[in-house]
Amino acid sequence: MIALPEHAGIEERIWHYLFIAICAFVFLFLIAPILIIIPLSFNAEPYFTFTKEMLSFDPVAFSMRWYNEFFSSEVWRSAVWNSLFIAFSATILATVLGTLAALGLSRPEMPFKALFMGLLISPMIVPLIITAAGIFFFYAQMNQYVQMTGTYLGIILAHTVLGTPFVVITVTATLSGFDHSLTRAGAMLGGSPTTVFFKIIMPLILPGVISGALFAFVTSFDEVVVVLFVASVEQQTIPRQMWAGIREQISPTILAVATVLIFISIMMLAAVEMLRRRSERLRGMSPG
């Protein structure tokens, strides 16, 4: 931590410890609400709070009841399947489109760079409710040609829109320190544009592409507003089920689901952190 100099006066010491205390409080504020869910999800009783028995660590008070409910429920199982299918499809689309666009945007010759960047990033900034309403009107209009509302296609495309800004941002960030003479060198040594792309560009931007893809995945995996507007009963996703579960607050199954989701996010975070460090190492930006 920040070292306190030997000669620090009493006033300085007070400020120092006060500062540490404030920081500890903020970290607690950030993390505690997430962690509190985990023990509660093992509650043997259908309560959303700790029972007296739980606090005295009586083993009877804990159970896997809500996990059983989660894994055996048909509704939740189809929600998991829907979420995974929609998120994977949207991620693939968003990653391909976003990476191509990022490659174009980071070329020095790109005209109207700021304008395009602004437009392509805007799905991230525009309030979700407005995007959802707009897409709802659009899909209603499209229905006479292709059924869009209440279909997987409609939701996947909408989630692709929401995911692309993250891919564009992370990939352009990886390309920001990119040495364009590398591609010229590759071409000069006889590599075709495709060879140069797969042998030189791709390995360098891969960490950015993967973390962009993970962001896009999480965006879709966590999205509920568009689903509320354009999905039918068939496309209920995990967040959509949680939304209903929170409103009704009947069963702590949502606490079990939340715990599972927390572990998924921990794994995602670890993956992205590793990729970020790898990318920085590759580009020689940090020693570690």
Binding site: I34, G104, V161
Partner: protein, 423 residues
């Protein structure tokens, strides 16, 4: 003069192998490169255009589009175009109305017409539907007397003024409604009655709640960003995970957590009861109100403040502070005069980002907002899904969007979109 002339002749002499002037060849190569860059961006741009920009445009158009009356009451609309708005219209208009209502009832569009008119004049819905039921009895003139006999509202000027007002296919009435204004009988714009002024109140509340969240995230985020920027990398990497984990955790999970923590039968209240701070009957309502929403939103948006602050603080050299102190400034003076001004770009970036994200929040207020924690997004969703007044939803959405775009433009001017980063 001569120099320039020499250069031009020299330029003209330089040619490529196939005899093309070098300048032209270069320009051509440059153009090719530009086109290639554009081609890479095009697939995404076309996709975003169709599945995002066009839908947003549709929504904007919905806020002024008003074809319902003109399409379903065409004869009346036509006759009313001639009417000067004084007294009540003539026999021909009443005849047109009777004909239109008969058709509308037969085609079952009368309910939508009645609903649309009711947005402008409450109570007119029943006038339309009741008249619709009885209008088939009218087979010949005098239409005026018979219609007024069915419902006396047809003898009132305000009924006709209202219908005339909604006949144009492009209207600004939804916007008037969205800012709690209406047109009175003379066509002057007046405020709606006190108890019906909900939208301006909601806009104000959205602004204040977002402002509170922004300030709260700044106050909480500043110390930890400072800590993260000033400790050895191996500690800061570890602590950074604590900031990033909430960022990666599902919004619904975090909202659930706050409900579990703060509700009256929740963990925090339980702890206070068990430790004897409050009695069981005095449990405090911490959530399902504005304050609960602000607390939850502050935690959810805090990482968006910490990350830009951290990346700016990381670039401030500690030698600035040492220099100031060695020149005799007290620690706090140096901090205020040297360190703080250097963090302003981070403060601006974080605050704008948090504010932009906060004004559009929907899920958290919907789940934990209760009565007084609802924001503008929630009323838009209400009009989209429950009341089905899509024109008003679109008008409210457009106003919100205008605000967000203005802030985004400001963000782009001050910080630049390419500086947006996560993790």
């Amino acid at each position: 003069m001569t120099d320039t002339a020499n250069i031009t002749t020299a330029d003209a002499l330089l040619t490529t192998a196939d005899g093309m002037p070098l300048k032209a060849a270069l320009a051509r190569a440059e153009r090719k490169k530009r086109i290639r860059a554009l081609l890479l961006v095009m697939p995404l741009f076309i996709f975003i255009f169709f599945d995002f920009l066009y839908p947003i445009g549709l929504m904007l158009f919905r806020s002024v589009e008003n074809p319902l009356i003109a399409e379903n009451m065409p004869l009346t609309a036509n006759e009313l175009a001639r009417w000067d708005g004084q007294g009540i219209p003539d026999e021909a208009t009443f005849k047109a109305l009777a004909a239109d209502l008969k058709v509308a009832r037969a085609e079952r569009t009368i309910g939508r017409v009645a609903t649309r008119l009711n947005y402008e004049l409450s109570g007119i819905r029943s006038v339309i539907t009741r008249t619709g039921r009885k209008v088939k009895k009218i087979t010949g003139p005098p239409y005026k007397e018979q219609l007024i006999a069915i419902n006396s509202a047809w003898g009132e000027r305000v009924t006709w003024v209202t219908i005339k007002r909604v006949t144009p296919t492009i209207t600004s009435l939804y916007y008037l409604n969205a800012v709690d204004k209406k047109m009175d009988i003379e066509g002057d714009i007046v405020s709606t009655s006190e108890e019906r002024q909900i939208y301006v109140t909601l806009f104000k509340r959205t602004f204040w709640m977002s402002m509170t969240v922004t300030i709260a995230t700044l106050l909480l985020g500043f110390p930890i960003a400072y800590l993260l920027a000033n400790i050895p990398l191996r500690f800061s990497n570890l602590l950074m995970i604590l900031v990033l984990l909430p960022f990666w955790t599902s919004l619904l999970v975090r909202t659930t957590s706050w409900i579990v923590l703060l509700q009256t039968q929740g963990v925090l209240n339980d702890i206070m009861v068990w430790t004897g701070i409050i009695d069981d009957e005095q449990r405090i309502q911490l959530i399902f109100n504005a304050q609960g929403t602000v607390i939850a939103m502050t935690q959810i948006l805090l990482p968006f403040m910490v990350l830009p602050l951290y990346s700016v603080m990381k670039t401030i050299s500690p030698s600035y502070m040492r220099a100031a102190q060695s020149m005799g400034a007290h620690r706090f003076l140096a901090y205020r005069r040297i360190y703080l001004p250097n963090t302003v770009p981070g403060i601006a970036a974080g605050s704008l980002l948090v504010f932009i994200l906060a004004v559009g929040y929907y899920i958290t207020p919907a789940l934990v907002g209760g009565q007084d924690g609802q924001m503008i997004s929630n009323i838009i969703a209400f009009h989209m899904q429950k009341s089905l007044n899509w024109g008003l939803a679109a008008a409210l959405g457009t106003l919100l969007l205008a605000g967000v775009i203005a802030l985004f433009w400001l963000y782009n001017k001050m910080i630049g979109v390419d500086r947006l980063k996560f993790g």
